[in-house]
């Protein structure tokens, strides 16, 4: 057992922290928020240059072949600086699905382009009414002579508009909640019959509901075995949960730091409000949430790539349930302790609050994972 990062990992962590501190000031972020796409292609290219889009890509395809710990360090920094770029949907979820399911040819075509930041690929999996159940897929894919026809609707597809390709899950067999029978398809965003309804998310990122009506894809766009995508989806989402937990820890500790600093400088009744014990104890509670969340982000990172799906699932569910509660407590108390200033759009703390709330609702909320963990723990 060892709690230290390697020298190389420490250096990577420092590089990313320096990068976001330099390139992602609150002012710059505000400008990016107002831009057409809601994220910066320039920053995306810089992330590619730093090798951060290639963390999960094997070396033979021009990537870093890194572990979940490098992802954790990257996500810590992303959470701290509140990056708006589609890192989680494309560099983590989309990339790992292509890596795990793609044929030799698909990988050759997509992975180097993903690493270079030339390609954005996001999963289009969730559906209205499925909540967080991974196997509940109603979208259908019907085989034709040379390919498939997709019919259905996908909900809250992150950064769908920015993506070049969507990885659409659709049922080629089975009932609506069967694990077997789910297939994944690479669908160009501009495919005929595919339409997007875009909207901003709670945390000012972009998402879309996707309608697929008679969308025709050739057979070579099938990603992975026909009807056999569930295991890879589950593995990719577990990795995504670990990444979200790490991002949360970055955002949580930034929120705590900002709150402590604010209560040191804000004066009322002739003294800094941080001198009041009722607020000190609240911040001590926040610190305990942050440190427990940090511990669980380590556990999730170390187990999310475990070959045993039960071990993996148990760890990420425990982590997400605990981190979700930390997100809620620390987020809410950060606003409370900032008083009226916490309510303003101007201060970064309200943006942290919204991101923390969004993380809690993403890839399974606290209740979902608590119940999942409880079922597995009996």
């Amino acid at each position: 057992m060892d709690f230290n990062f390697s020298k190389e990992q420490e250096q990577l962590g420092e590089t990313i922290q320096r990068f976001v501190a330099r390139e992602y000031s609150t002012e710059r972020r505000k400008a990016i928020l107002k831009s057409r796409e809601g994220f910066s292609r320039e920053v995306w290219a810089q992330l590619a240059e730093l090798g951060l889009l290639a963390l999960l890509i094997p070396e033979e395809h021009g990537g870093m072949g890194a572990s979940a710990l490098e992802v954790l360090l990257t996500m810590n920094a992303i959470g701290k600086a509140l990056l708006l770029e589609p890192y989680l949907p494309s560099a983590i979820l989309g990339t790992s699905l292509v890596r795990d399911l793609g044929s030799g040819e698909q990988k050759k075509a997509m992975l180097p382009a993903l690493a270079a930041g030339e390609l954005i690929v996001v999963p289009a999996h969730g559906e209205a009414g499925a909540r967080y159940e991974l196997e509940r897929v109603a979208t259908r894919a019907t085989a034709t002579a040379d390919g498939f026809v997709l019919e259905g609707k996908k909900a809250v597809v992150l950064h769908a508009t920015a993506a070049n390709m969507l990885l659409v899950s659709a049922r080629t067999a089975g009932a609506v909640n069967d694990r077997a029978g789910i297939s994944l398809f690479v669908v160009p965003r501009d495919a005929a019959g595919l339409s997007l309804q875009e909207y901003p998310t709670l945390d000012s990122q972009r998402a879309a509901d996707v309608t697929l009506h008679e969308v025709r894809v050739p057979r070579q766009n099938l990603l992975g075995p026909e009807g056999g995508a569930f295991e890879a989806l589950s593995a990719a989402f577990d990795l995504g949960i670990a990444a979200l937990c790490a991002e949360a820890v970055g955002a949580l500790s930034a929120s705590l730091d900002a709150t402590v600093e604010y209560t040191r400088t804000r004066k009322q009744f002739g003294q800094p409000i941080g001198k009041f014990q009722v607020l000190q104890h609240r911040m001590a509670d926040m610190l305990m949430h942050v440190e427990q969340a940090r511990s669980m982000s380590y556990l999730a990172a170390m187990r999310c790539t475990d070959g045993d799906a039960a071990v993996r699932g148990r760890a990420v569910s425990a982590a997400k349930a605990l981190v979700g509660q930390a997100c809620r407590f620390v987020g809410q108390q950060s606003i409370q302790l900032h008083g009226g200033m916490g309510m303003t759009d101007e201060l970064l703390i309200s943006h942290h609050f919204r991101r923390l709330a969004a993380i809690e609702l993403s890839l399974g909320d606290t209740e979902h994972h608590l119940e999942k963990f409880a079922r597995g723990a009996q």
């Binding site: 057992m1 060892d2 709690f3 230290n4 990062f5 990992q9 710990l69 402590v260 209560t263 040191r264 941080g274 001198k275 014990q277 000190q280 104890h281 911040m283 001590a284 509670d285 610190l287 305990m288 440190e291 427990q292 969340a293 940090r294 511990s295 669980m296 380590y298 556990l299 990172a301 170390m302 187990r303 425990a318 349930a321 605990l322 608590l370 119940e371 963990f373 409880a374 079922r375 723990a377 009996q378």
Partner: protein, 379 residues
Amino acid sequence: MDLNFTDEEQAFRSEVRAFVRGHLPGGIRDKVLNGRHLTRDETMDWHRILAEHGWGAPTWPKEHGGTGWDPVREFIFEEECAAYGAPRLLPFGLRMVGPVIMTFGSAAQQQRFLPRIAAAQDFWCQGYSEPGSGSDLASLKTSAVRSGNHYLVNGQKTWITLAQYADWIFCLVRTDPAARAQAGISFLLIDMKSPGITVRPIITMDGGHEVNEVWFEEVKVPVENRVGEENKGWTYAKFLLGHERTNIAGVGASKRELDRLKQIAAGESKNGRPLLEDRAFAARIAQVEIELLALEITQLRVLSAEAARKAPGPEASLLKIKGTEIQQALSELMMQARGPSGLSFEGISATYCNLRKTSIYGGSNEIQKNIISQWLLKL
């Protein structure tokens, strides 16, 4: 980073497990698993069995007769002992006065006291709190007045755990009444057989006799029994409290109690199904289990960092708060799991009452939050 135990650590775990299973007396184990109090002999017997195997001081360095284990081995040892139902080694000698003597005591004190602690020959207790000095420990009034080669000690200590069994008590006493609160305190080692010492039991709400009042009336204590410098006792006291807090987390014992909770919940029924399968109750158990899982990692993180800098830090307060919250939550759930049977005043309901102490002792959890605010958040 690697959260897996190494092969050597796994082998060590097997070794500890085999030893505990082979050597823990059945009577002691029964009492621990059912939350009953141990006698002095039972407590000392287990410690002696470990000492004879060379494990009498699992948290001490080798040069003082300890095992020299790293924090991970200490953790494994504690976990394996707790899992099978071994009593927790009492912290007063091993975790409290021992490290103080090692760090601040004279060579003569080290030779005199440390081997007897490690060998389970002396039973120690802690004389910190007074009736008027609980959380505000530095306001303590028990006085020690120098008279030749002795101090004359007068005053009253309270909440002294297991003083009724103790051979020695380490005390914070006031040696300079004129100085500012923290500045006039010294750290004395006092033989419990000294004339003038009276021990009076305090019966707690669970019906148990764990704590006592200890009265000092003109008690003669040789000056050579003072640890470190006169009037510097507060420094040693704070050092000791840091060690105490790290130990209080009790992750190993809480894991055992979690298993016990699940067993109880599996045996009770609700709506004709095992209570363990009730969604609401299962979610409450899962909540505590997840907190405990996180605390285990947090504890190992804190202990590894402490080992690297060789001193406990304010992070120990976090372990104390979380650890005691979990202990209390588990005992509460166990009592609730029993349903109306929980009304009978026996092991589980008595333990529920008894464990309310955990968020009060060792510096109340509110005091721990003051420490976190001051030292970690720097407010």
